[in-house]
């Protein structure tokens, strides 16, 4: 009975894969699978999907911090048991969704969510839905900032945009705590990115033991790392590397390959803001996010500079953009020079691409708008 360390292979089960999804479908979903005709958003966070059978599926969407406890999951289960035949789901943006099959079941369900206190209803339509984010200081070894803390601070401030649908279009906010960008930062309307700004510190006390030096050297996309002798704290000469700091772009790939080359630093690390990315193919093709603020300091617990920067961009956009226009579509229509002017963001040369495909971003035209930037 149970796992036997003495005999690990005993009736071992492997490669069964995920459980079959269908067993988890609420009855109304199972019955109307593939038969849906249209949907409507009845209120922020409340959707109805109408089937050709005439059946309806009402969905109530609630925010979650994503970093959640089993106790909170059990609370969700209690609600699902009470109102939703014991079924629930999570969205691709980490919201939780409760589904019922008739209108009168909606209000009690919504009330229960609101009553809970940790399950605000919203995130549909022209709103700011749940930010896709990452581990940060809660679990990862390479972060340049925290994840859950920054998201909490930002969403406390943007909360009304989660529970309403007043924006020109959906605004996808994402955070990644380092350039690895686990998640959606590279294609989000507003992205918060943890960035390092100091080259790797070379730990000569450990590097020759814990690192495959050739791998560390090969890891650098810019060839900034070269083999060299180093002196450890005992004063002994050891096989090590040097980093050409002028060629370093702080990507952190060397640290990923070699624990003795940490980049993280309390003052060097912080946050960059990127905007204008999108994923959907609706109207315009998918777009990458563009860097508009290269650095803001790490200021726990509430990162006021980052919160203010995100809110400012969101609200200038909300005022200025046309209906259906995503942040990136708006910026391209008015021109990026106007984006910086309207958002009152000083333009930094750091925002000018100087990497591999840079030339394609240079302005090879006389078409430009005169803005406050031009003295």
């Amino acid at each position: 009975m149970g796992y036997d360390p003495a005999n690990p292979m005993k009736d071992r089960i492997t490669d069964i894969g995920p459980p079959h999804y269908e067993q988890f479908y609420p009855p109304v979903i199972k019955k109307n699978h593939g038969k849906w005709l249209y949907h409507e958003i009845l209120a922020p966070g409340v959707l109805v999907h109408v089937s050709e059978t005439g059946d309806k599926c009402y969905t109530v969407r609630c925010a979650s911090a994503r970093l959640i406890s089993t106790s909170l999951i059990k609370d969700m289960c209690d609600i699902a048991d009470k109102y939703c035949d014991g079924c629930l789901r999570f969205t691709t943006r980490n919201n939780v969704e409760f589904m019922v099959d008739s209108e009168e079941k909606v209000k009690p369900l919504v009330d229960a969510c609101n009553a809970h206190g940790m399950l605000p209803v919203g995130g549909t339509g022209a709103s700011v839905s749940n930010p896709v984010h990452t581990q940060g200081w809660v679990h990862c070894h390479t972060p340049a900032t925290d994840a859950s803390g920054v998201v909490k601070a930002v969403m406390d401030e943007l909360f009304d945009y989660f529970t309403s649908m007043t924006l020109p279009a959906q605004v996808r906010v994402a955070l990644a705590c380092c350039l690895n960008m686990c998640g959606a930062v590279h294609c989000s309307d507003i992205a918060i990115l943890g960035v390092h700004r100091k080259p790797p510190l070379i730990d000569n006390d450990t590097i020759s033991q814990v690192c495959e030096l050739p791998l560390a050297i090969a890891a650098c996309p810019l060839g900034a790392i070269k083999p060299a002798k180093g002196i450890n704290s005992k004063g002994e000469e050891v096989k090590s590397v040097t980093v050409n700091v002028d060629r370093c772009m702080f990507c952190g790939n060397c640290y990923t390959m070699c624990p003795s080359l940490p980049l993280a630093d309390p003052t060097g690390d912080g946050i960059a803001i990127l905007v204008g990315g999108k994923i959907s193919n609706s109207r315009s093709m998918p777009k990458f996010s563009k860097m508009v603020i290269p650095f803001l300091p790490n200021t726990p617990p509430r990162w006021p500079e980052t919160v203010a920067a995100v809110k400012n961009i969101l609200e200038v956009y909300a005022k200025d953009a046309k209906k259906y226009e995503r942040v990136g579509e708006w910026a391209e229509r008015i021109g990026w020079e106007k984006f910086f002017e309207k958002c009152n963001i000083p333009f930094s040369d750091k925002c000018i691409d100087d990497y591999r495909l840079a030339y394609d971003t240079w302005r090879t035209s006389t078409q430009f708008k005169f803005t406050s930037h031009i003295k």
């Binding site: 796992y3 406890s69 089993t70 691709t92 909490k152 193919n281």
Partner: protein, 426 residues
């Protein structure tokens, strides 16, 4: 374990957004290790730096992934998180759950882990956050035997596939994303659990070009639903939108007064191809010019629906910036059928061709998108045994630098200097 002072974190208990700090404190009553999570995180807030050590290779017997090892660099202060390994459970398609299975997972995790989770990880796994090495086999045993779940991917292998809602609850699904995700995940259990690739490989299934699982940005092989016949139009419903009977965009903009719906401004003028117009009170679409961007369907879901000859476009190569800058997936196969009947055979032929080539040609830690860039798109298409199509590019090349192959050039590359000089003396 003792409670630590967390004056900084405590400030994150206020405010309307759900507080992970309050949640952690509550869970600490069940799993005291949470006090140490809070304690170490508080220390990171003070130091402005992570306190997790680099890497750590741990796992369960016979699997090369599914567990991410993690150790504290201040274990004496916070013994409860001295080990803090992540367990990635492969989520069910579209992340539907019964309360029964969730409760089983929770009970197990309270006994054997920190009690903290990510619902879900960015790739799509159900992430169990924080346990000790000695628990890993126990967890694996219980998960597979009692809960009926399995581990997800990590390392140089097929990562846990994921999908959008699809036909379960969306009128626009052009194929059954959940079925595809489930069938394919199970077909490739070995590729998922036993790293044999140069680097990670991700595949995500979206039912239509709205791409609700972000596959074009976040998967090496993106499967995005589309159709090749005509958009279905219900002219009566069109009138319903024009008259104001139906809310545009299904009410997605209800929070602000945008004025009366104007089909010309809100639909026809925003069509990227300009292939729509009104004629005698009816909405017309020149479907041959439509690029199926979804905008008009999004705005008038009751009036417009995808065609009936549906399938998916295959795009390849998305990834985050490390190392050459982020890539989005590139259109490689404009249209395939995605059917459970044939076990998604067309898809599997494509993914296996990719893997065969990439395992041969891909460099260590080179994503397939990077390999594609290195060899060039024309070469990759040859590998995939596909004809080059204008659809593969946004525009033809503007530089004149064509790499002609010897067999393509009359007379080949070998030339006689004597002949040349006889005609063109030096």
């Amino acid at each position: 374990m003792p409670k630590h002072d967390t004056p900084l974190l405590d400030q994150l208990e206020s405010g309307p957004w759900p507080s992970f700090v309050s949640d952690l404190k509550r869970q600490a009553e069940v799993n005291p290790a949470c006090w140490d999570i809070l304690g170490q995180l508080e220390l990171s807030f003070v130091d402005k730096i992570t306190h997790w050590k680099h890497g750590g290779i741990v796992g369960v017997f016979g699997y090369g992934g599914g567990i991410v090892g993690r150790y504290s660099d201040v274990p004496k202060k916070f013994p409860g998180v001295a080990h803090f390994h992540t367990v990635r459970l492969n989520q069910p398609s579209s992340k539907f759950y019964s309360t029964k299975i969730l409760r089983q997972i929770c009970d197990m995790w309270e006994r054997r882990g920190s009690g903290m989770t990510n619902m879900h990880g960015s790739t799509g796994d159900l992430v169990l956050l924080g346990t000790f090495t000695e628990q890993l086999e126990e967890i694996f045993y219980e998960v597979t035997h009692d809960i009926g779940m399995d581990l997800g991917g990590s390392g140089g292998n097929l990562r846990t596939p994921s999908c959008c809602l699809g036909k379960a609850r969306c009128e626009w699904a052009c194929y059954d994303t959940a079925a595809a995700c489930h069938n394919i995940t199970n077909t490739y259990q070995d590729e998922l659990h036993r790293p044999a690739f140069p680097y990670k490989f991700k595949t995500k299934f979206s039912g239509c070009p709205n791409d609700c699982v972000a596959s074009i940005a976040r998967s090496d092989l993106s499967v995005i639903g589309t159709w090749r016949d005509d958009i279905r139009i219900d002219q009566a419903a069109v009138k319903g939108y024009i008259s104001g009977e139906f809310a545009p965009n299904a009410g997605a903009h209800a929070g602000r007064d945008w004025g009366k719906f104007d089909i010309q401004k809100e639909v026809i003028d925003l069509c990227p191809t300009g292939c729509m117009w009104m004629e005698g009170g009816e909405l017309k679409i020149d479907n041959a010019e439509c690029t199926r961007c979804m905008h008009c369907l999004n705005v008038m879901p009751r009036a417009l629906r995808p065609g009936v000859d549906t399938g998916a476009s295959i795009l390849i190569g998305a990834k985050a910036p490390i190392l050459d800058g982020a890539q989005m997936s590139t259109l490689i196969v404009p249209f395939i059928k995605m059917e459970l009947e044939n076990e998604f055979a067309e898809y599997k032929e494509i993914i296996e061709k990719c893997w065969d080539w990439w395992m041969e040609e891909g460099k260590n830690r080179e994503r397939i998108g990077e390999s594609m860039q290195r060899v060039g798109l024309p070469t990759f298409l040859k590998v995939m045994e596909l004809d080059a199509l204008p659809q593969h590019v946004k525009e033809p090349r503007s530089n004149p630098y064509v790499f002609w192959k010897e067999e393509e050039v009359e007379g080949g590359f070998e030339r006689s200097l004597a002949e040349f000089r006889a005609r063109n003396p030096m």
